[in-house]
């Protein structure tokens, strides 16, 4: 086989990396290069340097070190039994690409993942080597996200955490049974233990020693994981239950939901469907309600009988329609907790309402200026000059929000 050029390798190894949803570059330590002898900065909030036509942000150079892999996970484009072209970057190639892209302001940093070659330890060691070279030789202060190989030795994970901003380990599928079926070489127990280990190391790095010295920060942007949605039969209730468990147990920054998407040269074991993008979107909405709006898991998933989220309307609206007895809510009087439950109100809107209503009573028009989506909210609120009257309890309220029914075509 002819030797691949850097461009050919980049094509193969970025194509292989696109099924990882995460591209965040936010939430790490603030740092810069004003001193003139390092490169790069991180200012807390992430920057999306481009958007691909799939609507996804491109913030990091997201590549695989290699797409050779000894595992055979059915859902994965890089599984051992797939016939996609294979390539492997050298350490220097990844470092050069990262630095040259960064200097041209294309990216915020590097997201490095890899297929498993030889052994988990050998793979992780190569990834750590890349991060080490970037940090120590190139004095790179941008963002680094390393995918952790779950079976790699703890020392390697310890070093990875000191070099990288974020570590992630994918749980891959929502249930252990599905992992065993579709990713036979992966062990869900070990994946969780590795996440527990990352959390313990991160907790440990936050404690000062008896001399008051702070140990070096371990993975300051935390850890994240990804679950594939729609490959197995798990319901949304199962998926969200799994994420609440992961958030509470391992302090994850994010759980990414990735709609199972057709891959080149797919396996016969998994059905090829068009990716359930709407379902993925609803799961993210529910995830936000759980983390920032004070909703309990049961409240969101009990709205429908089968435990799947309503695809036509968002989960907060679905909850409100099922609990109309609690509405309308008076924006001038009711508690923050209740305001957060109004469909069409976000956290920012609620904060603005709370800070303004200290000084005066709010009118309907005021609410519109505060960023609320009144098309949704109007049926659920009262304000000066506005009451929804019979609207809150009207039978056709859901129909106002759900998409119009489509007539089937004859052909």
């Amino acid at each position: 086989m002819a030797k691949l050029s850097l461009q050919q390798k980049l094509a193969i190894l970025s194509d292989a990396a696109k099924y990882d949803a995460s591209c965040a570059s936010s939430g790490s330590t603030r740092r810069d290069s004003r001193n003139g002898n390092t490169l790069g900065s991180n200012e807390g909030s992430g920057i999306c340097h481009a958007y691909a036509p799939d609507g996804r942000c491109i913030s990091l150079l997201k590549i695989l070190m290699t797409n050779f892999c000894i595992y055979d996970c059915s859902y994965c484009v890089n599984r051992a039994s797939s016939n996609v072209p294979r390539a492997r970057f050298s350490v220097d190639e990844v470092v050069r690409l990262t630095i040259e892209f960064y200097r041209r302001n294309y990216i915020e940093g590097l997201f490095l993942s890899s297929g498993i070659i030889r052994s988990p330890d050998a793979t992780m060691l190569d990834m750590v080597r890349i991060a080490r070279k970037l940090r120590h030789e190139e004095r790179f202060r941008g963002y680094i996200h390393l995918k952790t190989i779950p079976d790699a030795a703890p020392e390697l994970i310890a070093e990875a955490g000191l070099l990288a901003d974020r570590l992630s380990i994918n749980v891959e599928l929502p249930t252990d049974a599905a992992v065993k079926q579709y990713a036979p070489e992966k062990n869900p127990d070990q994946i969780r233990k590795a996440m527990a280990d990352v959390r313990l190391r991160k907790d440990g790095s936050a404690e000062r020693s008896h001399t008051g010295k702070r140990p070096p920060r371990f993975a300051p942007a935390g850890q994240s994981t990804q679950m594939i949605v729609g490959a197995d039969g798990a319901s949304d209730a199962t998926i969200l239950h799994q994420s609440t468990r992961l958030y509470s147990s391992y302090r994850l920054k994010r759980v990414y939901y990735s709609a199972f998407s057709p891959i080149p040269d797919s396996s016969a074991k998994l059905p090829l469907i068009s990716p359930p993008l709407q379902r993925e979107h609803r799961l993210y909405q529910a995830d936000w309600l759980l983390r920032f709006y004070g909703f309990e898991l049961g409240e969101i998933t009990s709205v429908t009988a089968d435990g799947n989220l309503d695809l036509e309307i968002d989960p907060k609206l679905a909850w409100a329609l099922a609990h109309r007895g609690l509405f309308p809510v008076d924006v001038n009087r009711d508690s923050r907790e209740m305001l957060l439950r109004i469909p069409g109100f976000g956290v920012k809107t609620v904060n603005r309402i709370l800070s303004t209503r200290r000084h005066r009573s709010l009118r309907y028009d005021d609410i519109a200026r505060m960023g609320a989506s009144l098309k949704k909210a109007r049926a659920f609120i009262t304000a000066v000059g506005w009451t929804p009257g019979a609207l809150t309890d009207s039978a056709d309220l859901r129909a106002r929000f759900a998409p119009q029914p489509q007539q089937l075509t004859l052909l």
Partner: protein
């Protein structure tokens, strides 16, 4: 009589602030000032600038922040709008917090526009290398067309990020030039036609390949990367092709039938069984069996089962309730806050933890998730009963002379009854299986006591119980 105030294109924020302060000090109402300079014509009867006035004026910090952004907006009326709000603030200093006020809302919207434009500038400036190859200090340049006057407030971002190289961001408005560690701003540049850069081809290759044709969402892309920026983004040339070819590519992926695995599959399979890792469970038969336990539903939520720990021939066995958050993560018993308290008190009672066997009545952590925390939940009678199996196995292995049951769950598992612990504590009971069990409280009970006297009292009693255990240990070891 109308005053005319001219503001420069570079340093607008400071100049506006000074002018506004002077006007305010002179008591000039908004309708008597024409703000101009960059893009508004001077009125026919306007007076020239007023002299700077001394004295201080207090305005809310939130207004300063608002003004510092809004002055960079392209709307020619921005200065007048800001001054009008400033004038109203004299009577009502809380006004900037009123998100419902129409004038404030308009200014906030302008502020948001400027912030967005700044953010897009940070994202979409694309440098090309212009320096000579092999030069000591590398040199880059970019042509960029911002919507608002955002170069000046954003230049520092690039300074913080790219201080080890020279760069210039040239725009039709104000340009930023950074050379040898010094930043300067200059006016009026034209598109300099920068030389080609070989890295752009790699970047476009990356852009093409990171796109997933099965999830085409053109609207989502355009709302975040509006077309007006495309002409200066090298990767944008690939967009029309990618969109056009996406449906066919997605269809082809679905229609291609699965292929046969490649030849190297066999050698890969041969490699596979070898790796064992540090995360593989414990080696002993009993701990391994406990690790694999699925007798009750608790295993579905916990990270791992936590088997007992200590010498296999220990004379004393300590039984707690269940692993907590830390125990669940670390896979070892008695390492969380209650475990640490136990260690402290045991040490002061002369009980060496390394010489006793410590374990829990239930081996998996039971909890309810609450945000980023896990709230401990008491195991049910059925869970305790299921886990008895493992406790019995540990008892049969270790065969201690004394078992210390800490708390109701341990007492229930060992004696069949978990009630009335405070009355039973400090006494040794004999179980149906013939073990001597000393009943005491769980250390987490001590942690929960808020009354200081009561706590000291209870700790002393607990220490006495552990002292008894350490006596037993000494007797049987002698």
């Amino acid at each position: 009589m109308t005053r005319f105030v001219t503001l420069p294109r570079i340093g607008t924020a400071t100049a506006w602030r000074e002018a506004a302060r002077s006007c305010l000090a002179a008591g000039i109402p908004p309708e008597q000032i024409t703000w101009g300079g960059i893009d508004s014509p001077r009125g026919l009867f306007d007076q020239p600038d007023i002299a700077p006035a001394s004295g201080t004026t207090n305005v809310p910090r939130s207004f300063i922040q608002l003004a510092d952004s809004v002055v960079w907006h392209k709307d020619p009326s921005r200065f007048a709008q800001l001054y009008a709000l400033l004038w109203r603030l004299l009577d009502n200093p809380q006004l900037t917090n009123d998100r419902g006020d129409a004038a404030v809302a308009r200014l906030r919207r302008m502020q948001k526009n400027v912030h967005r434009c700044q953010h897009k500038m940070k994202a979409f400036v694309r440098f090309r290398e212009v320096g000579a190859p092999g030069a000591q200090r590398r040199s880059f340049a970019a042509w960029f067309e911002p919507t608002h006057h955002t170069v000046e407030p954003t230049a520092q971002f690039f300074q913080r990020r790219f201080a080890d190289m020279d760069w210039r961001i040239l725009t039709p408005d104000v340009s930023a030039i950074f050379e040898n560690g010094k930043l300067r701003l200059v006016e009026d540049r034209f598109d300099p036609q920068l030389p080609e850069d070989a890295s752009e081809e790699l970047w476009i290759t990356y852009f093409r390949n990171i796109f997933n044709p099965a999830r085409l969402k053109v609207q989502a892309m355009q709302s975040e990367m509006p077309k007006k920026y495309w002409k200066n983004l090298p990767e944008a040339v690939a967009i029309p092709d990618l969109i056009a070819a996406a449906p066919a590519r997605a269809r082809a992926m679905a229609q291609n039938s699965p292929t046969l695995p490649p030849g190297r599959m066999r050698s890969i399979k041969a490699q596979l069984p070898a790796p064992t890792s540090a995360w593989t469970g414990p080696a002993g038969a009993l701990p391994a069996a406990i690790h694999a336990c699925t007798r009750c539903p608790l295993h579905r939520e916990a990270t791992q089962a936590v088997p007992g720990e200590g010498p296999q021939a220990a004379k004393v066995m300590i039984v707690g309730e269940q692993p907590g958050d830390q125990e669940d993560l670390q896979g070892r018993p008695f390492v969380g806050p209650a475990g640490q308290l136990f260690d402290d008190i045991a040490r002061s009672a002369g009980l060496d933890r390394d010489r006793v066997y410590v374990t829990n009545a239930v081996k998996h952590f039971k909890f309810t998730p609450r945000g980023k925390r896990r709230l401990h939940q008491r195991p049910s009678a059925s869970e305790i009963r299921h886990c008895r199996w493992w406790l019995d196995a540990e008892l049969a292995n270790v065969r201690p002379n004394l078992v210390v049951a800490m708390g109701a769950t341990a007492a229930e598992a060992l004696t069949g009854s978990g009630t009335g612990i405070l009355q039973r504590r400090g006494k040794v009971e004999r179980t149906p299986a013939g073990h001597d069990v000393l009943i005491t409280v769980h250390p987490s009970y001590l942690l929960r006591l808020t009354d200081n006297d009561r706590r000291t009292d209870e700790i002393a009693k607990f220490r006495a119980d552990l002292k008894f255990a350490s006596h037993v240990l000494a007797q049987h070891s002698a």
